[in-house]
Every structure is written in C-alpha cells, then in structure tokens.
C-alpha cells in the first residue's frame, strides 16, 4: 500500500503566487542567450537594433518590475499531479484562479480576458479564468508549468488534420507557410510548439505543452530532433527576421511533441510563441 501525500490546496495557491513575479517580469536566461547568439549572427542593421532592444527590454523588465510585453497574456497552467497526491481544502482550479486574480492586482498585469467570446465581450477584470490542464501521473509530486501567452502570436497558430500519407517535407512546408503568413504579426523571432499526432484536441494541447520544454532542448528521438532542426533552418531562411522587418533570425527554437494517432489521421498543430516567452516550471 502506497502512502497518500496530502497537499493543502492553499500551499499550491501560495507557491503559484510566489512564482508570479518571476513569470511576469524575468525572461528566461536561455532566451536572452539566444537573443545574444542571434545578435552575433544577424547582419541587417535594423535587425541588430531590434535584438539589442529586446536585450535592453529584458533588463528593464526585471529591474523595474515592468512586464516585458504589455500583453501579459492568457494565464496557462499544465499541472501534473502524482497519483499518490491528495489535494485537500478548496478545489484546485478555484485556488489557481484566486492566485491569478491576486497576481493581476499585485503586479499590475493587464486584464486581457473577456467573459464571453461572441455576444458579450466584457472584460473579466482579473485575468480569470486561467486555462488549466491537469493530468494524473505516477508519483507523489505535483509539477506545475505556468505561462503567459500573448494574443498576437496565438492568433497566427494553426491546427491542420493531415492525411496519414503526409511526408516530413509536407509538414515542413506547412509549418513554413504558417510562419510566413504570420510575418511580423507574431512578434518574431519566435519559438514554435508543434504537435504531431494524437487527435483534434490532444494535438493542439501537445503543441502548447511543447512550449514549456526547456528552451532549445531536442525531441528525444533522433529523427524528430532532426526534423526540428530542419524546420528551424528553413524558418531562418525565410528572411522574415526580428519583428518581420527582414533578417536571418526568424525562429529561436522549434519544439515538436508527438503522440500515437488514428489509422486515418495525422493531426498537425502549430502554436506560435512570440519572443516575449514567459514560462516557468516548478515542483511541489
């Protein structure tokens, strides 16, 4: 018999709130290293200036507690809960939303959520509800991935239901086409989350989850790691460049996640992340 670990939902609330300042104002150091790497590669003076601005922006955001982008995003959570964990107290989703509302107030985040998508687009006033995905995994820990996803790049994302005979080059072409169509609107240089396989909804979820991978880390299978590299190379040959104003640096990283799928299908989801990639992960 395994021991059940009891985690009060209040502890989860507090841990999320504790991480909110870092999530909102501190850009990933790996991301900043990628800006520097691209600055060294970039030859266009305009593109260089934008990359320099992105580095300055990261410093100012961190030092002055100002969001690096005015769009402080949809609050996204992927939560993996060990099967031996029992969450006591209030309902998990309600404490997460409580933390989101408190962080919005405390950190002066922009209120970016409307309550109804079509008929009554009234602002919810506190960034709730967050988008929360939970999954039960083996173990006795809770792993929390949290992110702030801006609307501009999200709007240029795509889900395509391919036929099973689609080839790796078909996939590369569709991804390139999507990023080219997005142009400057998705605030390049981008990070690309790609879902391949699963079904309609799980494929989209894979693409989003791919964005929470450690930045620049490859798919564990060599053929998919190569596909990621090929896509990255092709994206950087498009000439879109930082902010879509021309240059060699269009994408910083491509993260592809795969899942088994139906004999009739090959779903492909492309989730574009702008360069203001705000994400972090921690365990409880």
């Amino acid at each position: 018999m395994h021991d059940i670990r009891i985690v009060p939902s209040r502890d989860i609330h507090d841990a999320i709130l504790d991480h909110y300042r870092e999530l909102s104002f501190s850009l990933d150091l790996r991301l900043q290293d990628m800006f520097r790497r691209d600055l060294a590669i970039e030859t266009e003076p305009g593109a260089q200036e934008i990359l320099e601005d992105m580095l300055k922006n990261a410093v100012i955001a961190e030092e002055q507690n100002i969001p690096p982008c005015q769009d402080t995003g949809t609050q996204v959570f992927f939560i993996e809960i060990g099967n031996l964990v029992h969450i006591s107290g209030d309902h998990l989703e309600s404490v997460i939303n409580e933390a989101v509302a408190e962080a919005t107030e405390m950190l002066y985040l922009r209120r970016s959520i409307v309550c109804d998508p079509l008929y009554d687009r009234v602002n919810s006033g506190d960034n709730t509800p967050a988008v929360i995905h939970t999954r039960i995994v083996p173990g006795s820990e809770i792993l929390i991935h949290m992110g702030q996803k801006g609307g501009g790049a999200e709007n240029m994302s795509r889900l395509i239901m391919l036929k099973p005979d689609a080839t790796p080059s078909d996939i590369i072409e569709l991804v390139v086409e999507t990023v080219v169509a997005a142009g400057g609107k998705s605030c390049p240089p981008i990070i690309l989350g790609i879902g391949l396989g699963g079904n309609f909804e799980s494929c989209a979820s894979l693409a989003k989850r791919a964005l929470f991978r450690e930045l620049g880390e490859s798919h564990p299978l060599p053929e998919y790691a190569r596909l990621e590299q090929e896509i990255l190379l092709r994206l950087n040959e498009t000439g879109i460049g930082p902010q879509g104003l021309g240059g060699n640096c269009t994408a910083l990283a491509v993260h592809l996640e795969t899942a088994p799928c139906h004999i009739a299908s090959l779903p492909l989801a492309i989730n574009i992340q702008c360069h203001s990639h705000r994400h972090l992960s921690f365990r409880i």
Binding site: I60, I66, P68, C69
Partner: protein, 167 residues
C-alpha cells in the same frame, strides 16, 4: 532613410515630408485604441454621434497598456496587430484620421486609402514594452474607462521611436 523629430499632432505638411522607412521620434500626445474602442467608435459613427477624439488631430496608437504601478508614469507600452483594425480604419480615415501607429501590415484597401487621404501609418517594435515605457511621460484614461485595457488612454511621449510604414 531620414530621421524626423515630430511634435504631435501630425499635420498634412509634416506628413508630406515623410518617406517609407524613415525613422520618426515622437513628442506629444498619442491616443490608444484597440479592438473594443474601434468597435465603439464605429457604433458612434453609425449613430452620427461625435467621437471623444478629434480624428484630424489624433495619432491613434493600437495599444492596450498594462496598468500603471504606483510611482510610475505608465505600465508596459507596445503595439498590437494593426490589421485587426483595418475595417474600422477605412471609415475613420474617411472621417479625417491622419495618423496611426501599430504593428504589422495593413490591407491593400487601407494602404491605398492612407495614401489617398494623405495620412500616415507608423510601426514600432512589438514585445519590448518595458523599454518603450521609458519614452512615456504620462498615461491617463481619456475616454471609455469601462473598456478597461481597451479604453482610450492619452499617452504623452517624449523621444518615442517609430518607423514610417505607409505614407
């Protein structure tokens, strides 16, 4: 490419000196308006009511700022995607609007009308909103406070950098 320092608002004379790709350094007042404010401007227009803005003297900035923390002049400031406002811009340009500031391309219809109307469309860097906030002297709600981040804010800027995209 030339650099122009501009005291807002734009006038037809100022615009006639600009060329695509020129850099502009803006001083003065910008007025934010994004999706919800544009929807409301069109509702006013349909009803024949006066807008809170004088379009001819306004540079509309497609921006929803983050709230101003205490002791600061503004929150994070940056452009949103302009093309979402294309439909509304056609009407506003016909009603006298002379200047817009945002991010990304415009539709061919908007582009043509900007040229025909002697107006200008500027772009500035997206996703560097902490840096851009350093050029903002003040940020006050100007109209339609109920729209929250989508209200019209009056931003007084000093040395705010942008580029001429369509003229």
């Amino acid at each position: 490419m030339r650099t122009h320092t501009i005291e807002l608002p734009f006038t037809p004379e100022i615009i006639s000196n600009l060329a695509r790709g020129d850099k502009v350094i803006l001083n003065g007042a910008l007025f934010t308006a994004r999706d919800a404010a544009h929807k409301r401007m069109l509702e006013y227009h349909e009803r024949g009511e006066d807008l809170p803005l004088v379009l001819r003297e306004t540079c509309i900035f497609y921006c929803g700022p983050s709230p101003t923390p205490p002791g600061r002049s503004c929150g994070a400031i940056g452009p949103t995607t302009s093309s979402r406002m294309d439909g509304a811009s056609l009407i506003l340009l016909k009603s006298g609007l002379l200047a817009m500031l945002g991010k990304g391309e415009r539709s061919p219809e908007v582009e043509n009308l900007i040229r025909k109307a002697g107006a200008v469309y500027l772009t500035c860097s997206g996703g560097v909103a902490a840096l851009m906030s350093q050029y903002v002297v003040s940020c006050e709600t100007f109209a339609w406070e109920d729209l929250g981040p989508e209200a019209i804010y009056r931003l007084v800027v000093k040395g705010f950098p942008a580029y001429v995209s369509i003229v």
